[in-house]
């Protein structure tokens, strides 16, 4: 499973640029990834739609009524408008964090699924280091792409990566209309790899992939380490979560804040 493995493990390209370079080619599909932030739902949807695997996407929420609570419910027409097939999305309302995790362990053992998305509302203290390690091991063992949507402040976890997703102002179309969805994505943490880098991504629904914002589709994106903060100024450094274990990045981060 390590970088020395002969056969390259399937990976999902995120921005086709420096994020992918940092991720060693893209998001490892046989792994568990954590998503935080107000646009985590959108980011998760786009990632699973970009994932080339066939099969249903199991969306397990810890809510009681299929996410009909505070954040509204998933809207089929809106998912179709993102370029996805809403019929592929299977919703499970587990009704609690523990049932959600039990359902996840069932789902992760099913290789016929394209992806498993776990959506927890609030802080969900039950999802601790042990639980995330179990999720990660199951994802790696069965090769099931697992996304964990979390609320609250980032907590210790054994997931491969941690992402922070917020909405970003979209490109303006004619008559000042907002253009395709844009997200400000921060790779906050990566196990055994560089982290703490941000990117503005625009979702191209016709090709079902991200395009780094500011670039027209298909244009190459310069690859190279860019310290956090340069792309978005102060506002995003605010959102950047603390990242234990990434010492070098912390120093860069501190400098950026102090500057």
């Amino acid at each position: 499973m390590g970088p020395g493995a002969r056969v390259p493990l399937p990976r999902l390209a995120v921005d086709g640029g420096r994020l992918d370079a940092a991720l060693n080619g893209g998001l490892l599909l046989a792994g568990c990834h954590e998503l935080y932030g107000p646009a985590a739902t959108a980011f998760a949807l786009m990632l699973v739609l970009a994932c080339p695997r066939p099969g249903p996407i199991l969306w397990i929420s810890d809510g009681h009524n299929g996410g009909r609570g505070e954040d509204g419910r998933l809207h089929g027409d809106g998912i179709a408008e993102l370029g996805g097939d809403p019929a592929r999305l299977w919703l499970v309302a587990a009704g609690g964090v523990v049932p959600m995790l039990r359902a996840a362990s069932e789902a992760q053992a099913c290789p016929a699924l394209a992806a498993v998305v776990l959506e927890s509302h609030g802080e969900a203290r039950a999802i601790d280091l042990t639980v995330t390690r179990r999720l990660q091991l199951a994802a790696a063992g069965h090769g099931v792409f697992t996304l964990l949507l979390r609320g609250g402040a980032p907590r210790p976890s054994a997931a491969l990566t941690r992402w922070q997703a917020t909405a970003a102002p979209a490109r303006r179309l004619a008559a000042d209309a907002p253009g395709p969805p844009r997200l400000a994505i921060t790779l906050a943490r990566q196990r055994g790899g560089p982290a703490d880098m941000s990117q503005l991504l625009e979702w191209n629904r016709d090709r079902r992939r991200f395009v780094a914002a500011g670039q027209s589709a298909g244009q190459p994106i310069p690859i190279g380490p860019v310290p956090i903060g340069t792309a978005f100024g102060r506002r995003l450094t605010h959102h950047a979560p603390p990242h234990p274990g990434a010492g070098a990045a912390v120093a860069v981060h501190a400098k950026a804040v102090a500057a």
């Binding site: 299929g66 998933l74 998912i79 909405a167 179309l173 907002p178």
Partner: protein, 484 residues
């Protein structure tokens, strides 16, 4: 007697009356044996009864409770035969055709039934007959032969009984000798129907409490078992037995219902459903494990179960399985198994899929349905356009306060959840009319939808409810969804 016996179990010797109010008076509707012995009969006013026996206990007459109790007893009676019906108000009808040999003959089956009912505090009057109506009549009126039954077995109506008696008829046998056509013209067809049911001339469907399952297996224990492992081992054997029967029929089960009969008369039921016909024992055992682990009130074995029955009420053809090299079939099998396990644990209603309907009202056009069934075709979006529909929808829409430059213009600023959002870009309006053809008056407010982005870059779907001046003077605004 059921009404009083289900209440007076602690002390059946004390007189007890059940009363209901009738036009402002408290009337005795039922009395226990002790009360009857003291001359307190149903129909008496409570005041009179109290005058006769001052210390009589009184409780409200509760026919619904009686019916529930009788249904509970009927459920327990399925231990003797799957075909059981509660004969309201006080009877239980059990079709023991082909069942008696399991209990060592009819006599010992009846003895077992009476013993169990007595243990629960009920008196039982058993009767065996060739038809349900005759069995019920023997239980109520006693006797050995249908011909000797009293006229009350033919009709509940006093007037009909009197008319029959005036015609010189004393027993059912006297009536049965007369030509049916004459009886029908004089006393009504209901009487003839009742007579035919007593005499086996007309079949009377039993309409059982539980539909008879095409495949079932049961295990009886000489000693009640309460141990979870023992119950699970018995379930395993039942599943094996059912598997053999299903395989012989070339079928699989869609629903498996396990009934656990407690020795004190209670019946617990656990059922699992499968998305596709199934007869694989390890899979089914695992589904039962999931279901039992997820039960809200865990199985309470009490003094133990003395009978387990596994019924397969819903079956469907299932060909002999062969593991295919075809990946598609394998994936299908894996997904079905996953859905079954999740459904057993969480309940089938918790598994949903997104569905769409032919409506232009957004919250009606897209909704979720239980998983399963055909998938809908979704319209492909226009290439190159930004998404016109949000990924999350609020149902109902959330009211917001909006500041617009002109009442029918685009929103400039809005307040949602105590936070002010400045609109930096907008697109709209997309006008969606109410379903005016559904309403008689043709009314209903038009919605003007706006896709807006705030200064933070978040995108919202807002609508103004009602056209300014044409439909309403002060249109209200709502937030209906969140875009990516």
């Amino acid at each position: 007697m059921l009404s009083t016996q289900r209440l007076s179990r602690p002390d059946p010797e004390a007189p007890l009356l059940l009363v209901a109010s009738d036009r402002g008076r408290q009337i005795v509707r039922a009395a226990n044996a002790a009360a009857l012995a003291q001359g307190l009969a149903p129909g008496l006013a409570l005041a009179d009864a109290r005058a006769a026996v001052p210390d009589v206990a009184v409780a409200p007459f509760d026919p619904d409770g009686d019916a529930a109790c009788l249904d509970w007893l009927a459920r327990g009676a399925t231990r003797w035969s799957p075909l059981v019906r509660a004969g309201h108000p006080h009877g239980l009808l059990i079709d023991i055709t082909g069942c008696a040999h399991l209990f060592g003959g009819e006599a010992s089956l009846v003895a077992d039934a009476v013993t169990r009912l007595v243990r629960l505090g009920f008196t039982a009057q058993p009767a065996l007959a060739a038809t349900p109506a005759a069995a019920m009549a023997f239980a109520r009126f006693g006797g050995e032969r249908v011909a000797d039954l009293s006229l009350a077995a033919l009709s509940e109506l006093e007037s009909v009984q009197i008319a029959l008696r005036r015609a010189g008829l004393r027993r059912v046998g006297d009536v049965a000798r007369l030509p049916r056509a004459a009886l029908a013209s004089r006393f009504g067809t209901a009487l003839v129907a009742a007579l035919d049911q007593l005499l086996e001339a007309a079949p009377e469907p039993l309409d059982p409490l539980l539909p008879a399952a095409p495949v079932a297996a049961q295990r009886r224990f000489a000693q009640p078992v309460g141990n979870h492992d023992a119950v699970r081992a018995a379930l395993h054997k039942l599943l094996l037995a059912v598997q053999v029967k299903l395989a012989a029929r070339g079928q699989g089960g869609r629903r498996f219902a396990l009934a656990l009969y407690r020795s004190d008369g209670h019946v617990a039921e656990v059922a699992v459903e499968t998305a596709a016909p199934q007869r694989d024992v390890p899979i089914l055992l695992r589904l039962f494990d999931e279901r039992i682990a997820a039960l809200n009130d865990p199985l309470d074995p009490g003094f133990g179960y003395d009978l387990l029955r596994l019924a397969v009420p819903v079956t469907a053809p299932l060909a002999e399985a062969q593991l295919g090299l075809d990946g598609g079939a394998l994936a299908e099998t894996q997904l079905t198994a996953l859905v079954d396990r999740l459904a057993a644990r969480l309940g089938r209603g918790r598994l949903r899929r997104l569905a769409r309907a032919d409506s232009h009202i957004p919250e009606q056009a897209s909704f979720d349905l239980p998983l399963g069934g055909g998938a809908d075709a979704w319209p492909a979006p226009e290439p190159g356009e930004p998404p016109a529909r949000p990924i999350r929808l609020f149902d109902p829409p959330q009211p917001i306060e909006v500041l617009a430059e002109v009442p029918d213009g685009p929103p400039r600023r809005f307040r949602w959840r105590a936070r002010v959002h400045d609109v930096t870009a907008h697109e709209g309006p997309e006008r969606i009319a109410a379903a005016w053809w559904r309403r008689k008056d043709g009314a209903g407010l038009t919605r003007d939808y706006w896709r807006v982005e705030d200064s933070q870059g978040r995108r919202y779907w807002l609508f103004r409810h009602g056209l300014y001046e044409r439909e309403t003077a002060a249109p209200r605004w709502y937030l209906h969804g969140l875009f990516a």
